[in-house]
């Protein structure tokens, strides 16, 4: 169901990128895209380029910062890292997501909630 996958992505890609950077530390765009593909079993990313649009947005908001560096394979790559503001935003977004997911879980499955 690619349609539903992409619509989920619109709202959650920022959160996934932030979480990835928190979990793995500074990482280049390709690495982030690969990680999201792996976790989402290739269902969440329409294409890897979408990650870069998300990264531009997050840099502009100063939630992440970008810096040119050298990759494990000795290649020049742009590395993204979480900022202090980004960390706070991630906490807020995670709490919000868990609250929404909890509510949605109870709505969709009333028996398990009671």
């Amino acid at each position: 169901m690619p349609d539903s996958a992409s619509s989920i992505l619109q709202g959650t890609l920022d959160l996934m990128v932030l979480k990835t950077l928190e979990h793995l530390g500074p990482l280049h765009g390709y690495g982030i895209a690969l990680r999201i593909e792996q976790l989402g079993e290739r269902a969440l990313l329409v294409n890897q380029g979408t990650v870069y649009l998300c990264l531009v947005r997050l840099v502009q908001k100063k939630w992440i910062k970008a810096e040119w560096g050298v990759s494990d394979n000795n290649r020049k790559a742009k590395f993204y890292a979480l900022t202090k503001a980004g960390r706070k935003q991630l906490q807020a977004e995670t709490a919000n997501w868990e609250r929404v997911a909890g509510v949605m879980g109870r709505v969709l499955n009333p028996q398990s909630g009671s």
Partner: protein, 903 residues
């Protein structure tokens, strides 16, 4: 919220550095693809497969780049910059449109900006340039019924000063005129501020030398002191620092100089001399602009709170307060109310505060509306050009550009033009404002200088105003034709893309161009006659050597006019005696045949409405505006004016006989055919008002000054008959040394009864030049407006003709190939357009006739030019033909082969 602002800032940075941004993106994509390829190869793919796989997973790079640009920059600003560049290119290409449209826009934006600065200076500014100037206020007595500012009694001033808590440094001033005598210099009349000591505390400006006026100086019996302005100190005392302690004579009393104020200080209005307002001064303080009560709002107090407190305290009744009566209770019928207003507002006019803001807005709106006619003209040209660019737009439309995108592009192009016009307007407004400032400064009421808060400089408000005008101009000139063109042109152009079928200009637009021609034709004769009428006196001269004459004004010292009604007749008799005395003295000094007097300076006489007795040429009573002067017996002799018919004034005319002498223009305009001698004329105060007594015309003289458009009527003048305050003017031969004569006239002043003064001594040619200045400005304004209408008409006609050629290019090609004669070809192509122009000219001629009849050109200061109407019609037709010359050349040069291939 912070994230939002960060995003905006980052996008602006991205917009400003597009090159860095793009290369960064390219490098990042390259790195991504390399890493993805390496991964692919590790998974066992070939190089080609790995490369393909990496690109597929990344997605379409073009689309990604566009999305990334949209996310990282300011897309609309990028588009705007591109449109602006295209607009500049179009301005260079369509230089005809640029010149014609730019000129018209510049003229209107300049007029509107000048008006805006003027209104802003005199009406809009509320804070004078003083320390915390916005806290300085004026307290007034406002007559709500008469809608006028009234004098404030000295007792009210004291009461307000003693009781008001919401203001401090309360005080007052009034302007008086005094004859200043400094040792060794001729006396001169100066404007002096009689001011309370608090005025200096309020202004918070430290004296350059000495001290301010203090409370002690206001006390009865205190020594008379004066504080001087910087200019006075420089010009009269040669910047001598030992001026303190020296004495000057102001009127009847000797004043000791106690201080000199720094450069630029002119509080309360435009003063250079300050003397204390004595506390025993029993009269009232004159209402603004000649006087005012000023104060500074106490810290933390608003204008409204001050008003509330002042309303509670109120004004004393106008009559003497009977003991035991509350002063806060106004007497019955007393419509005066105290009010607090921002300081500079007090000097604006007799208006309420809100009212002024509305007046200002309405004036600005009307001025801004001036933009509409020239912008509509430009809209015609822009539309015409847009239609010629139909293929360009159709191609863009086909490639995916939306209609709104094309509309925006056309609007931005118009904005580029209007912005250029706005920039030029801003540049030329400053010198124009300077000139206007100089003219206003010379007004006698201002005493040679403007209020100290008026500098005719640009405030920050001018920027948004001009920017707003530019946007308005761009919307009218760009949006209307853009919507029309994209609505009409695009579908046709799209269908015909490739076949090159062209759409016609459209009936509405053609009609507009023809209307424009009619308008130009209608306006041209009247504006030419008006302009010539105004310029004629300067070009052809006054008909006599005006530079050989000096004029001087004998004016009553307004301070000495009694306020009590019963004293007036005795005062008037005294004025009359002194006037006779002065005239005798001048006669003795310069010779009877050298000097004369009149109630107005020749050439600057007031306009008066007069009517003839029955039997005038038109059969009924004719009413016309003429210039009227009252002159003494020697007036015509001194100016060397011969009698053309009838007789000069003699002894009987200066008694009870009511006689008049008129000039040739008067006879032509008012009397018409038949003899004027023996006919009767009388002044009418205003249309509909009761007429004055009849005067019998006894003589006819040539026009003096000559070449003006208004007739003149002379009545015999008797000193003192103009009432107590009416000034009279002396005119005399300047002799071989005009400067010496002028000095001697000034000196006569010092020996006179102080109720009368001799001032405004000037050469008559200067007076004439000044009286013509307004007319010259009118002429220039008319010339500029006419020129812009003509230029726009010519540009419109050019567009019309160009269309005729472009539309029929194929037909021209065929006919040329078939051997058609160029003359016949042109006649058939332009025949229709020329018929339209001729129609416009005919309608214009009819309108011009109506306008001429309705306007009464000579009364408005114009001069009838014989044959102006046919000349104007020929001129307009010539412009039409000239506009057709370029397109005609193109038409006869059309290459049949190319035209057939393209078409």
């Amino acid at each position: 919220m912070l994230a939002f602002f960060n995003t905006i800032a980052a996008r602006i940075r991205g917009f400003l550095r597009p090159g860095d941004r793009e290369s960064d993106f390219d490098r990042e994509m390259a790195a991504h693809l390399e890493m993805a390829e390496e991964d692919g190869r590790r998974r066992g793919l070939t190089i080609e497969e790995a490369r393909r796989d990496a690109r597929v997973k990344l997605g379409g790079t073009t689309q990604l780049r566009e999305s990334w640009r949209a996310a990282s920059g300011l897309t609309w600003l990028d588009g705007f910059a591109l449109d602006a560049r295209l607009g500049l290119r179009m301005l260079r290409r369509s230089w005809g449109l640029t010149l014609a449209g730019g000129l018209a826009m510049t003229i209107v934006i300049t007029i509107a900006t000048v008006a805006f600065v003027f209104l802003d200076e005199f009406m809009g500014r509320t804070a004078p340039p003083l320390d915390e100037g916005d806290r300085v206020v004026a307290l007034q007595s406002w007559d709500v019924e008469a809608h006028r500012r009234r004098d404030v009694s000295r007792r009210d001033l004291e009461r307000w000063g003693a009781t008001l808590q919401s203001v401090k440094d309360l005080g007052g001033f009034q302007t008086i005129e005094r004859r200043l005598t400094i040792d060794g210099r001729p006396a001169e009349w100066v404007r002096v501020a009689e001011i309370t000591a608090s005025g200096f505390r309020l202004a918070r400006v430290v004296p350059l030398l000495g001290r301010w006026i203090g409370e002690g100086d206001e006390q009865p019996g205190a020594a008379s002191v004066v504080v001087l302005g910087y200019d006075v100190w420089q010009s009269r005392f040669a910047s001598n620092r030992a001026v303190i302690g020296q004495t000057v004579r102001l009127g009847e009393s000797i004043h000791t100089v106690i201080g000199v104020m720094p450069e630029g200080f002119a509080f309360p209005v435009n003063h250079r001399y300050w003397i204390p307002l004595r506390s025993d001064h029993a009269g009232s303080l004159k209402a603004a602009p000649e006087g005012a009560v000023f104060a500074r709002l106490a810290p933390g107090v608003s204008l409204d709170r001050a008003q509330a407190e002042l309303t509670t305290i109120g004004l004393l009744p106008q009559a003497t307060t009977p003991s035991g009566r509350s002063p806060a209770q106004p007497t019955t019928g007393d419509a005066r109310r105290p009010r607090v207003v921002p300081y500079t507002f007090a000097f604006t006019d007799d208006v309420e505060r809100g009212e002024l803001a509305w007046q200002q807005r309405i004036i600005l709106l009307l001025i801004s509306l001036l933009l509409v006619p020239p912008c509509l003209n430009i809209a015609i040209l822009v539309y015409a050009r847009t239609v010629t660019r139909q293929e360009e737009f159709a191609a863009r439309f086909a490639l995916g550009a939306t209609r709104s995108r094309i509309v925006v592009q056309l609007c931005v192009e118009a904005l580029v033009l209007s912005s250029a016009a706005g920039a030029v307007a801003l540049a030329i407004t400053r010198p124009i404002l300077f000139q206007i400032g100089e003219i206003i400064r010379r007004l006698p009421a201002l005493g040679g200088s403007l209020p100290f808060w008026v500098d005719f400089d640009f405030s920050w408000r001018v920027g948004p105003f001009v920017a707003g005008l530019c946007v308005l101009a761009a919307l009218i000139a760009g949006l209307v034709p853009a919507l029309q063109a994209t609505g009409r042109v695009l579908p046709v152009a799209l269908r015909s893309l490739g076949s090159r079928t062209r759409i016609p200009l459209g009936a509405t637009w053609t009609a507009l161009i023809v209307t424009q021609v009619a308008l130009a034709m209608a306006l041209l004769p009247s504006t030419m006659e008006l302009a010539w009428g105004n310029l004629r006196p300067a070009v052809l001269g006054p008909g006599f050597p005006a530079g050989d004459f000096l004029t001087a004004r004998l004016a009553v010292d307004s301070q000495r006019i009694p306020t009590a009604e019963p004293d007036l007749p005795a005062f008037a008799a005294r004025v009359r005696d002194v006037q006779i005395q002065v005239i005798r003295q001048i006669d003795t000094e310069f010779g009877v045949s050298a000097a004369t007097f009149a109630t107005a300076v020749p050439g600057a006489e007031p306009l008066t409405l007069v009517e003839m007795d029955e039997g005038a040429s038109s059969g009924g009573s004719v009413r016309r505006y003429v210039r009227a002067n009252e002159v003494d017996r020697s007036f015509f002799e001194i100016f060397g004016v011969p009698m053309l018919a009838g007789r000069a004034f003699d002894g009987r005319d200066f008694g009870s006989a009511a006689t008049a002498i008129v000039d040739q223009t008067f006879v032509r305009q008012v009397v018409g055919d038949g003899t004027a001698i023996g006919r009767r004329v009388r002044p009418v105060a205003a249309p509909g008002a009761e007429a004055g007594p009849w005067y019998e015309i006894v003589g006819i003289v040539p026009d003096r000054p000559a070449n003006t458009s208004q007739g003149r009527m002379y009545l015999p003048a008797v000193p003192g008959t103009r009432g107590a305050a009416g000034p009279i003017h002396v005119a005399l031969h300047a002799g071989t040394d005009p400067a010496a004569t002028s000095r001697r006239l000034q000196e006569i002043n010092t020996n006179l009864d102080p109720i009368l003064r001799v001032d405004d001594v000037r050469r008559l040619d200067e007076v004439l030049a000044e009286s013509q200045m307004g007319g010259h400005l009118t002429s220039y304004a008319l010339a500029i407006v006419t020129l812009s209408v003509l230029v726009l008409s010519a540009a419109g006609l050019y567009a019309l003709m160009s269309f005729a050629v472009t539309l029929r290019r194929r037909e021209i090609g065929i006919r040329t190939a078939l051997g058609a004669q160029p003359g016949r070809l042109l006649a058939s192509i332009f025949g229709r357009a020329l018929r339209q122009i001729a129609g416009g000219v005919i309608v214009g001629v009819a309108l011009a006739l109506v306008l001429h009849r309705w306007l009464n050109i000579e009364v408005e200061g114009g001069w009838h030019i014989p044959g102006i109407l046919p000349a104007a019609a020929i001129f307009i037709l010539a412009i039409g033909l000239l506009s057709a010359a370029g397109p005609a050349r193109r038409a006869v040069r059309v290459d049949p082969t190319e035209a057939l291939r393209d078409g």
